[in-house]
């Protein structure tokens, strides 16, 4: 093979790999991404039953009910609308009423959100930015310097 042919072979094999990768990326992006919604988003644009998405907001005060065996029910609210959530399993350490939470799962026919994962992030002053931002957009006031509502300014950790 001449230098030119060799170079062509290299370029073609490189393009082949990249082509396959682009195909995979497009296929994967069309099928595997999950959208993030707040309860108000859900009320404005209803999501189909069975469609997988992430629901974010605050755990409504007084809404956590423990059922038989390991079932837990609670409401996720953005202070305007609330969605009932059903979860079976071990809740994260930082799951608490009034705290920010992100649940991933699907709506069932009765309009309840069946979560298969529940995330409350690693730090108690920490609110998932999606939640913080979404709440801000909805006009929910957060204390200055605090990353979750109800916490006095500046002393979020104590």
């Amino acid at each position: 093979m001449t230098r030119k042919q060799r170079r062509l072979a290299f370029i073609l094999s490189g393009l082949l790999v990249i082509g396959v990768a682009v195909g995979l990326v497009l296929f994967a992006l069309s099928g595997t991404i999950t959208y993030f919604k707040t309860p108000s988003d859900l009320a404005d644009n209803p999501v189909q039953v069975g469609q997988r998405f992430r629901l974010g907001g605050l755990v409504a005060s007084g809404s956590v009910k423990r059922g038989q065996s390991l079932d837990v029910e609670f409401e996720v609210t953005d202070t305007i609308k609330a969605v009932p959530v059903v979860y079976r399993g071990v809740l994260p350490d930082l799951f608490r009423e009034g705290q920010g939470v992100v649940a991933e799962g699907r709506l069932d026919e009765s309009g309840r959100f069946r979560a298969d994962t529940v995330l409350a992030k690693h730090d108690e002053t920490y609110m998932p930015p999606e939640v913080a931002k979404a709440l801000k957009e909805k006009g929910v006031k957060l204390g200055e310097g605090a990353t979750h509502p109800g916490s006095p300014a500046g002393t979020a950790r104590q």
């Binding site: 390991l70 071990v90 809740l91």
Partner: protein
């Protein structure tokens, strides 16, 4: 007073690195040796000054000086010494000082060990290195000053996030940073080479050990992070494709490609232009990692503080260095002389395939990481791209890479013989085939592809082992000869084999634990029993206790297998004193076949507790593989021919017989 010394030292370091950036480059331009020599002293000076600043900050942490804002916000006097120290880099400001410290250390290393580098190249490398230090020092001093005072000084600090109070995580950031920042050496050398307009094998011989050292640190740093996430977060997983994990994984992938292409450049003077480009891209990805992690654009525990000014600043740094590097590359790359010819079927060809696949894989991870950010910026939709995406894109690209890997080692340089290589690899293929058959026979429930994935790992592992044995002429020479040859193999050959064996082990571990993990969630009352993967666990109840800075509820479990006792496990829920935050401590029984992993959950009705159990088969191999990769790198680094300063030594050996 001490933190003021630190602050002052940091400002001085800024000025000295300004000198280091301007003077040697000017000297190289006008050909003045004395001006170029300034670079070396300035690099050492910068390092010493940043070291002083770092030590002063560490001192404030160790003494728990809460009159310093940064110490107050991130430390607590009741913390054990090691976590007071690791608190220095457990926050944004301190971790940036560590970043610059490691950067300055690398710069000083060029000054000290680079004696035989051509003077102009050395001057330009130091200049490029100084420009990076300068940018980050300005960043620290303007937006993230760790030396700010607090008046009046509080009596007690707010404490470090308890999940960060962990031995593996204490050393995760320094290794990660050494990796990120180590790639700045490759970047600086690439920039210097582009300015000089020439590169040769000597350039690659210089760049490769630094890249290797950085890559080793990054490998270990990522592995530590993954190990920590595994036992501390209590989810039983070891990798979550979290954007922050990806931020460290992308430079690792690109750095791995760089290591291999620098090898081609060193041995055969080919792939020059590509290697230079890869050096620029690898460091750009490191900068991007820093940006993603530090700017708070990602939702993650690593985003310490969400301060838009910082994000914009790091974004600017990243744009300047990436854009500047690529612009210089575009302008000058054409002047670099093309390298040697080689056939597609050759060691070089195999390494090119390695590079194409690794670079493409880096690209898919990049898209998966940035797509949610881009989409939100454009349409406002918030989405998350999770493990399914990466499994679908990254996974398939690794298959040909792993298939081809053993072939590469058995192909000759310049022109290889694929058939001969295949014949030599029959042993490894046989071992892999046996693994498939065994996996199908004994591990029935599970995805159909899992045994094939397992075989892929075994294939890479067996190929690496066989490479060493083949070179020792096993089966073709008597035992004494084989041993003699094994002893005489160059360390770099051992290093390659060890690193590749590490990849094989890791693949085996990943496939096994992904495909055959078992998980159960049960509500247990004291006195009840449950079982998983052949183990029987009896729950005896909860004890309350105190640790140095936390109180805990500790579950007591005895584990038996076929009636005979195995171990006791104590999964716990801790509540730390400062900050008051609960954490979960998993109870893990480590065994060769797999880990038994128990997490204690919330109290349920009627005195029961939620208990989550996992059995993770062969999960240890993932980290053992990473450590083996690190050892492989170390062996290769200790090889005489690669050792920094080696040419000077070989010159000496030439002189000796002449005396």
């Amino acid at each position: 007073m001490t933190v003021e010394i630190g602050h002052f030292a940091l400002i001085l370091a800024l000025l000295v690195s300004l000198v280091q950036m301007v003077v040697p480059a000017w000297g190289a331009r006008v050909g003045d040796g004395r001006l170029m020599a300034v670079g070396g002293s300035a690099a050492i000076g910068t390092f010493v000054l940043v070291l002083i600043a770092f030590v002063m900050l560490a001192d404030a942490y160790v003494r728990s000086d809460f009159s310093v804002l940064n110490v107050w916000a991130n430390s607590h006097s009741a913390k054990p010494f090691i976590y007071r120290l690791s608190g220095v880099w457990g926050n944004h400001e301190g971790s940036m000082v560590l970043w610059v410290l490691i950067l300055a250390l690398f710069g000083a290393a060029v000054a000290v060990f680079g004696g035989y580098l051509p003077a102009t190249l050395k001057a330009r490398v130091l200049c490029a290195q100084a420009s990076i230090s300068l940018a980050f020092l300005v960043f620290i001093l303007l937006t993230s000053n760790p030396f700010e005072r607090l008046s009046p000084a509080p009596m007690e600090g707010r404490g470090l996030n308890p999940i960060l109070q962990d031995p593996a995580l204490a050393f995760h950031p320094p290794f990660l940073y050494a990796g990120y920042v180590g790639f700045s050496m490759a970047f600086s050398f690439a920039i210097a080479a582009l300015i000089e307009g020439r590169t040769d094998a000597a350039w690659a011989r210089w760049v490769r050990p630094w890249t290797l050292a950085a890559w080793m640190c990054l490998t270990l740093g990522i592995a530590m992070g993954s190990w920590w996430a595994y036992y501390e977060l209590g989810w039983g997983g070891w990798w979550f494709w979290d954007p922050v994990e990806n931020a460290s994984f992308m430079p690792w992938l690109a750095g791995t490609a760089l290591l291999h292409s620098a090898l081609v450049m060193e041995k055969r003077e080919a792939l020059k232009v590509w290697t230079i480009l890869l050096a620029i891209l690898t460091f750009s990805l490191s900068l991007m990692g820093t940006f993603l992690v530090r700017s708070g654009v990602l939702s993650s525990v690593h985003a310490f503080a969400v301060d838009p000014k910082r994000g914009v600043f790091i974004l600017a740094i990243m744009t300047i260095f990436t854009g500047g590097g690529l612009a210089l590359f575009a302008a000058r790359a054409a002047e670099l002389k093309q390298g040697g010819l080689f056939s597609p079927i050759s060691r070089e060809g195999a390494l090119v395939l390695n590079n194409v696949l690794l670079a493409t894989a880096t690209g898919t991870v990049l898209i998966g990481t940035l797509y949610p950010l881009a989409l939100e910026a454009v349409t406002g939709d918030k989405i998350s791209v999770g493990a399914p995406y990466f499994n679908l894109t990254f996974g398939p690209l690794m298959v040909p890479l792993l298939l081809a890997l053993p072939f590469g080692s058995f192909l000759g340089w310049k022109r290889g013989d694929l058939r001969a290589a295949a014949e030599r690899l029959l042993v490894a293929a046989g071992v892999a085939l046996v693994a498939v058959v065994l996996a199908f026979a004994f591990m029935v429930p599970g995805p159909w592809a899992a045994p094939l994935g397992l075989a892929l790992g075994v294939w890479v592992l067996a190929g690496a082992v066989w490479e060493v044995l083949f070179r020792a002429r096993l089966g073709r020479a008597d035992a004494g000869e084989v041993l003699r040859r094994l002893a005489n193999l160059p360390r770099s050959a051992w290093g390659t084999a060890a690193a590749h064996a590490g990849v094989g082990l890791m693949v085996i571990g990943i496939v096994a634990t992904t495909a055959w993990q078992s998980e159960r969630i049960v509500a247990m009352k004291p006195g009840e029993k449950t079982s998983i993967a052949g183990y029987t666990l009896a729950f005896h109840g909860i004890d309350s206790g105190r640790g140095p800075n936390y109180s805990e509820d500790r579950g007591r479990f005895t584990v038996t297998r076929d009636g005979s006792p195995v171990t006791e496990l104590f999964p716990a829920k801790r509540l730390y004193d400062a900050p008051r935050q609960p954490t979960t401590e998993a109870g893990i029984h480590v065994a060769l076949g797999g880990d038994l992993y128990v997490v204690l959950g919330d109290a349920q009705k009627e005195g029961a507790f939620a208990v989550r159990l996992y059995f993770n088969p062969l999960v240890r191999l993932i980290w053992i593989g990473a450590v083996l990769m690190f050892i492989g790198g170390a062996l290769s680094l200790s090889d005489r021919r690669l050792r920094v300063g080696a040419p000077r030594k070989s010159r000496k050996t030439v002189i000796v017989p002449a005396e």
